[in-house]
């Protein structure tokens, strides 16, 4: 008691004390975050500027930016550039990843919205449908990738069998093997898997929309399409934007699906796949670390651009 009165008189103000208490409550989380997120990230950036390899990680020497870009003049006078930034395989992977992210997130958002609208409607057995629709998301990616791998198999796959049976194709398609269809195969599986996740996030947004607005619109005789574009869409936009960011972050670092479904295919190799390949398979740990760092930078740029362009309100200030 006395402590409290004294404090009011001379010690730190209530606000300051609350901040201090908040800091101590947050400290364990901050330490945990530092250990699992910041430290590995900083270490990767450090490794990317050394000549580390898996077998000699602790004897690594500092070589500056050579893993990113180095200029060397040969004895013949020819100038050659080396490093990730001039590596065509890297840029192919960047292109694959960006293409994959844009297409998959686009489809997932559209399908997710449709599914969410359906799940938001009142009908019998809605609870069951909501649970059932989440199944693809609940299956571990490795399992679903392997499962789809067999379904897409050219000789004994069920997809080819069905398409042949209904006469849509006249010969078996090598989905995962052919360079023309490999990316499509990856996209199909990813869209199948992640649409439920998008639907769930959008559904949460839909349920926030007050019912009375719809009632008012119905009384005024507004056309349902107009209701969707003038009422529903603007009101769920914040939720939609956040959902798209989540998916974008995920899609830009895609690894498992590609690694299992179409390993080593240049048509689908993504940034994560190529960086792992360099780190582990080729024993060029530092080079792979440089690619991981670039991947981090690319994702950071993408997200900042998105937040800036879309004016996404991540802090939730406007709702207060």
């Amino acid at each position: 008691m006395t402590d409290l009165t004294l404090g009011r008189a001379a010690g730190p103000s209530l606000k300051q004390r609350r901040q201090r208490a908040a800091f101590w409550f947050l400290a364990p989380m901050l330490i945990a975050l530092f250990c699992v997120a910041a430290w590995p990230l900083l270490r990767t950036i450090w490794f990317s500027m050394t000549d580390a390899s898996l077998s000699s990680m602790y004897e690594a020497e500092w070589i500056g930016f050579d893993n990113y870009l180095s200029v060397r003049t040969l004895s013949s006078g020819r100038v050659v550039f080396r490093g990730t930034l001039v590596d065509p395989h890297w840029w192919n992977a960047v292109w694959n990843t960006v293409r994959f992210a844009l297409i998959s997130v686009g489809f997932e958002t559209a399908f997710g919205l449709i599914v969410a609208l359906v799940m938001n409607a009142e009908f019998k057995g809605r609870g069951l449908v909501r649970a059932a629709i989440l199944i693809p998301w609940a299956i571990p990616t490795i399992v679903s990738a392997k499962m789809w791998g067999w379904m897409l198999n050219d000789q004994f796959g069920i997809i080819n069998d069905i398409l042949l049976g209904v006469g849509l194709i006249d010969q078996k398609i090598a989905w995962t093997a052919s360079v023309d269809t490999a990316m499509t195969a990856v996209l199909i599986v990813d869209i199948w898997k992640t649409t439920p996740f998008m639907a769930l996030l959008i559904l949460a947004g839909l349920q926030m929309v007050p019912r009375d607005i719809y009632e008012a619109a119905r009384l005024d005789g507004v056309h349902p399409v107009k209701v969707f574009f003038r009422i529903t869409l603007p009101l769920i936009k914040p939720a939609l934007m956040v959902a798209v960011i989540f998916r974008m972050l995920d899609a830009l670092r895609i690894f498992d699906l590609v690694y299992v479904l179409t390993p080593n295919s240049a048509a689908t190799k993504t940034m994560s796949v190529i960086s792992r390949e360099n780190m582990i398979d080729f024993d060029k740990f530092a080079y792979g670390a440089a690619q991981s760092t670039l991947l981090f930078a690319i994702i950071a740029v993408f997200v900042s651009l998105y937040i800036w362009l879309g004016r996404v309100d991540l802090s939730g200030d406007s709702q207060r």
Binding site: A177, N264, E277, D281
Partner: protein, 422 residues
Amino acid sequence: MKIRMVKSGLSICALCVAAGMSPAGAEELFYVSGAVGNALENFRETVKPWEEATGHTVTLVPMPASSSDQFAQYRLWLAAGTTDVDLYQTDVIWAPQLADHFVDLSDAAKDLIPQHFPSVIESQTVDGKLVALPLFTDAPALYYRADLLEKYGKEVPATWEELTLTAQEIQDAERAEGAADLWGYVWQGNAYEGLTCNALEWIKSAGGGQIVEADGTISVNNDAAAQALEMAAGWIGTISPEGVLAYQEEEARGVWQTGNAVFMRNWPYAFNLSNGDDSAVKGKFDVAPLPSGGDGSAATLGGWNVAVSKYSTKQEAAISLALYLSGPEGQKSTTLKNSNLPTITALYDDPDIAEQVPFVPRWKEVFEQAVPRPSAATKGKYNEVSAKFWSAVHETLSGTGSAAENLELLELDLSDIQGSGW
């Protein structure tokens, strides 16, 4: 993680048992290996006599069938110095890359070494250190449907051209008779180590060298090699399904064993499996050396070895298991069960083997002419060289650029990797 849990569970059981009656110092070993076919069950039977004799136990930790995937995982475990795994089953090409992490077995195995083929022992010796002991050697064969060749009065193809023609003819005729799913030739075209093996055979048999020669010169960019690759690219969609570009050993065996292929290139392990009761080709096929491309038949030297991790805390028991598996008893058992090729010379004259897996004695010749992959010449950079090679081949096969263009680029890539030396 899982290993650790299983392990601690086992150690508790072992403690209870040890307190009672088991022989003093019984250890539980962990052996990691890729698993194809029936390898898991067969391993249990093979090690049973050893377990009974020593009182130790061994658990097989199965890994994916792709050797590239296994290698990545092993490299991670070894770089982290894990004590969870005591023995590794290693591919013949890995010795130079992983040598630092394994125990030198040359003293422990000094009585066993002279019984093996010297070339295999040599492939596992790095700077005088015997990194791993051979379990079996591997050289691929051409599996052919004897019944179909007989039906159409064809000889077993001796050259790739003959194979192409025969495969096409039988495929067309059989399809006309209603076998719509039949293909002429299946092999391993996925972009992985297996494609390096396949393509090395086409190129070497056509006189195009072996990618990087023993003295370190990059020889892959030449006309014979380009022609060999163009020939293989011509198979896609004609005698081989387009999906062969995603096939590894097991996918090819799947098509073959369901009776949907006239020819298959595969390793000896497929022999017993194809003769199993559930196989559609049981008793209808035979094996022959791979066709020649004008410069003799070439079969990539494969094979698996057992290495003892230097981070293992139970090295004594682990070495004893390695010696058993690599010794006459262990090798005979795996030969009979897995139809592998032994590396102990005397086993080729063993009556049981001659009776139960009759093709093994015939294989000695093929094996003696086998072509090694350039792992010794390229040392620690072999994986990257192989990946660049299989990518160039895969691109050629899937129609991205001609063989000549891709080989030219490959030569440039390889000399970049080579840098100042292998």
